[in-house]
């Protein structure tokens, strides 16, 4: 009896392992970052773009106010595409836009802003990309919707018309 049970036991274990790995093969191996939300904003210090002055995160964000922190760069093509939407959003009084200029030169960034307009209330000049990492960003463009010091929504990649309407709904 014992001798009969053993092969069945071994075969069933191998079948289980096979199913387990076979299922694993079908999973995508491309990592899609999970958009962590409802996290507190990180504390950081950064250089202001227009003033050559170091400023702390506590000086940026007030409570009871919506903020959209947008990471952008003049060399990033999708940033150029989403810029008109940001310009539109900048006209809304319910929200303040803060930019993080990611791994850029000041001359190129200034040209970008003079060509397409400046929707940002303040811009942090992030020459080495350190501030973007402190926010847990993957690259450019990326945007964080903030209220009461909490990240309530995160958008990886460029904003589009649909996301723009979503933001407008949220900040009403």
């Amino acid at each position: 009896m014992k001798n009969k049970l053993l092969p069945i036991f071994i075969t069933s274990i191998f079948i289980i392992i096979f199913i387990f790995f076979y299922k694993g093969l079908q999973n995508s191996n491309i990592y899609t970052p999970e958009a962590k939300i409802n996290n507190k904003i990180p504390s950081f210090s950064g250089e202001l773009f227009f003033k050559d002055k170091i400023i702390n995160s506590s000086d940026f964000f007030k409570l009871d106010q919506f903020y959209l922190l947008n990471i952008w760069s003049s060399w990033c093509v999708p940033c150029r595409e989403e810029h008109p939407l940001l310009m539109n959003l900048g006209k809304n009084n319910n929200i303040e836009l803060i930019g993080i200029n990611y791994k850029d030169t000041k001359i190129n960034a200034k040209n970008f802003l003079s060509e397409l307009g400046n929707p940002y209330r303040k811009i942090i000049f992030d020459k080495k990309g350190v501030n973007a990492i402190e926010w847990g960003a993957y690259g450019v463009p990326e945007s964080f919707l903030i209220k009461d010091g909490i990240i309530i929504k995160r958008y990886i990649g460029p904003l589009n018309q649909k996301l723009f309407s979503e933001i407008n709904q949220l900040i009403k």
């Binding site: 999970e34 080495k128 990309g129 350190v130 847990g136 993957y138």
Partner: protein
């Protein structure tokens, strides 16, 4: 006295060098265990993407600030989740990964010993 001063200066320079060298070693060790999230299958150490370069700068900065290896891992884990570490922590998502080899080893051992015992008998 002059010799004493000179040797003190040498010692100072040497100690700074070794401090810098140990930071470089630690930086390589840490960045080898961090996954580059935007370039699949590469560690931060191997990658030259903008993301990886920024991570390397931060690891350097944190080491200079006196952060320990684990504190640096925790910092990145908080920002990007467990996936950024090549060495996964034991939690409800990874317990099979950790327990399966032990289980297979035990079952294999049991089978081998059982066969031997049966044969001996």
């Amino acid at each position: 006295m002059k010799i004493l001063k000179l040797s003190f200066i040498f010692l100072l320079i040497f100690s700074f060098n070794s401090l810098k060298a140990s930071n470089v070693d630690m930086n390589s060790k840490i960045t080898k265990n961090l996954r580059c999230l935007i370039c699949q299958g590469q560690s931060v150490y191997d990658s030259d993407s903008e993301f990886a370069i920024s991570i390397k700068v931060i690891v350097d900065k944190k080491l200079e600030e006196g952060f320990s290896e684990n504190q640096i891992y925790d910092f990145f884990k908080e920002k990007y989740g467990d996936w950024i570490l090549y060495d996964p922590v034991l939690n409800k998502n990874t317990y099979i990964l950790w327990l399966l080899p032990i289980l297979i080893f035990l079952i294999g051992g049991a089978i081998i010993s059982k066969t031997f015992i049966i044969k001996k008998k």
